[in-house]
């Protein structure tokens, strides 16, 4: 289980936006050209990493990328028939 105090220190030390910036880069790399849900992105981002349990910055990174118009989010039905929020990269020109 992630240590709450350590998480707080990390957030406070983030004045330079370092950890969040790094998380945003990882999210963009993980997405590539696919359409993925948050949990699917988390699995791709954490594959083979030592802090695989840390997901505290995943959604702040996703929402900030969406707010900066780098990602486009959409609620789409999954294979289970339930609607999930999905993300894909936003391109200037349609692909």
């Amino acid at each position: 289980m992630a240590d709450g105090a350590a998480m707080s220190r990390m957030f406070r030390a983030e004045s330079g936006d370092g950890p969040l910036s790094a998380e945003r880069r990882r999210v963009l790399d993980a997405l590539d050209g696919d359409v993925l849900t948050g949990p699917a992105i988390a699995r791709r981002v954490r594959t083979g990493k030592s802090d695989s349990a840390d997901q505290a910055l995943l959604y702040p990174a996703l929402y900030s990328l969406e707010a900066r118009w780098k990602l486009q989010a959409e609620w789409l039905p999954g294979q289970d028939g339930v609607r999930h929020r999905t993300y894909r990269k936003r391109y200037l020109r349609p692909r």
């Binding site: 289980m1 992630a2 969040l20 949990p39 988390a42 349990a53 505290a56 609607r83 999930h84």
Partner: protein
């Protein structure tokens, strides 16, 4: 003419397009700001039984830090609930029991308050802020147009209602004062315009706030102060310096309501959605604008009110004009009786000036040069006096409540006549006036050279010009 027609058509089409665009934008805005039954909700919270409580508590704690529009909060909750469901299922597949899996899934997301603050900050980017400002300005334009139309209907409905009530009261024999009799209807028209503008300012600020809140992903209350300052200052300056037309004290007071209405639109129940015009409103509108006028005409036809007063004068004496209040008539030894000086006036609307002229007439119906008559006179001037209301029965003439003119202009020669210009439309209370030509005779006393003439002039200008105008 063609240019004016094309311009009018383009303006009308542009306004209609603006209104349609803003209505569509506001529908989207209201869906985002309101919880909305169609949007994603926390009903996707996974699992059942004992696992619901810690997840719901976590989401509640996290949501407490989200000062976002309701639809955004619901969306974040739904997505995190979906994420937790996925995590818990994965951890259970790895062998953890339900409670342990829930604790681990929640722990991976970190402290709920920190997560809420981070997500709140992540929602608000400079791009969204700029887009929100632009959307707010666009919505304010459409809101102003819609508010002005609605305001015009509302004020007209109130006036029709008051007129109907007045008609009934007069039928019952009650005498009501005509509050607008001294303004020739200008006061009523100006009041309708100003009150409709105040309602439009309220709507414009309201539309701007809700749209920019929706687009910038902020709550309406967090940006209300900014729009209140912008709306209050913008509409305040416009009300003081921009609204040009008839002014009097109650019109100026109503114009000061315009910025106040804009500020009220920013703060009064700003979190509540905009009213939707439903069938009830349309039905009320039909009643107000079809049934009420018909009733009014019926009442007015039955009342057949006459406005004559007993003893109304049909002819008058020269003394009724009270011209001796100005000065005694010039003696014939200095102004021959066969020579008559007669005044005339014309309004220069472009310059907001009333041009007064005095010409010499003799037995012949022809204008003669006035110069030969001026040898005995000096300090020749036109004096403007407050006059009896020329809308009332009677000849008009000097209002004897006053002992001095409210404006004086030196008479200057223009061709064969004397002339001067008075900015009556820039005098706060010019109203009915009477202009007389006077001069100082050889004995050193001032005399009147003609009987003058009068008219009514209403103030025309901005509220600021009225406030700083001479009485």
């Amino acid at each position: 003419m063609i240019f004016a027609t094309v311009y009018a058509i383009a303006l009308l089409c542009g306004t209609i397009a603006l209104v349609i665009g803003v209505v569509a934008l506001m529908r989207r805005t209201e869906r985002r700001l309101g919880p909305g039954p169609g949007g994603p909700s926390a009903s996707t919270t996974p699992g059942a039984g004992a696992a619901i409580d810690p997840i719901a508590a976590y989401l509640d704690r996290m949501s407490g830090e989200l000062a976002l529009p309701a639809a955004d909060v619901a969306e974040v909750r739904a997505e995190l609930a979906d994420h937790l469901a996925d995590s818990i299922a994965s951890l259970e597949a790895e062998g953890l029991d339900r409670d342990s899996a829930t604790r681990e899934a929640l722990g991976r997301l970190g402290p709920p308050a920190e997560l809420g603050r981070q997500i709140h900050a992540a929602h608000q980017s400079t791009r969204r802020l700029l887009a929100g400002a632009g959307g707010g300005v666009f919505a304010a334009g459409g809101g102003f147009v819609l508010g002005y139309i609605a305001g015009g209907f509302m004020v007209s409905a109130v006036i029709i209602g008051l007129a109907a009530v007045s008609g009934v009261l007069m039928l019952l024999g009650l005498h009501l004062p005509n509050l607008l009799s001294d303004t020739r209807g200008l006061g009523g028209n100006a009041m309708i315009t100003v009150l409709a503008t105040a309602i439009a300012a309220y709507a414009a600020t309201r539309y701007a706030i809700r749209t920019s809140a929706s687009v910038s992903h902020r709550t309406p209350r967090t940006i209300a102060v900014v729009w209140a300052v912008i709306g209050g200052l913008g509409f305040g300056l416009w009300a003081l310096f921009g609204l040009h037309g008839y002014q009097t004290w109650y019109i100026v007071a109503a114009e000061l309501l315009i910025p106040m209405a804009a500020v009220a639109g920013a703060f009064w129940r700003v979190e509540r959605g905009l009213p939707q015009a439903g069938r009830a409103v349309l039905a009320a509108g039909l009643v107000a604008f079809i049934v009420l006028p018909l009733g009014l005409f019926a009442v007015a036809g039955g009342a057949s009110v006459t406005v004559s007063s007993p003893g109304e004068a049909t002819s008058f004496q020269m003394s009724d004009l009270h011209l001796d209040t100005v000065a005694p008539m010039a003696p014939t030894k200095w102004l021959p009786e066969q020579d008559v000086i007669s005044g005339d006036f014309a309004v220069d609307y472009a310059a907001d000036l009333t041009v007064v002229t005095a010409s010499r007439f003799s037995a012949e119906p022809a204008t003669l040069p006035i110069q030969p008559l001026l040898a005995n006179w000096r300090d020749i001037r036109f004096e403007a006096w407050h006059a009896m209301s020329i809308d009332l029965p009677g000849p008009g003439g000097i209002d004897t409540h006053y002992t001095s003119p409210f404006a004086v202009q030196p008479a200057t020669l223009h061709g064969d006549s004397l002339a001067a210009s008075f900015p009556f439309q820039k005098y706060r209370d010019a109203g009915s006036w009477w202009v007389v030509l006077t001069a100082v005779g050889p004995d050193g006393r001032r005399y009147r050279l003609d009987i003058g003439g009068g008219d009514y002039t209403s103030f025309s200008g901005t509220a600021w010009e009225w406030l700083t105008a001479p009485q």
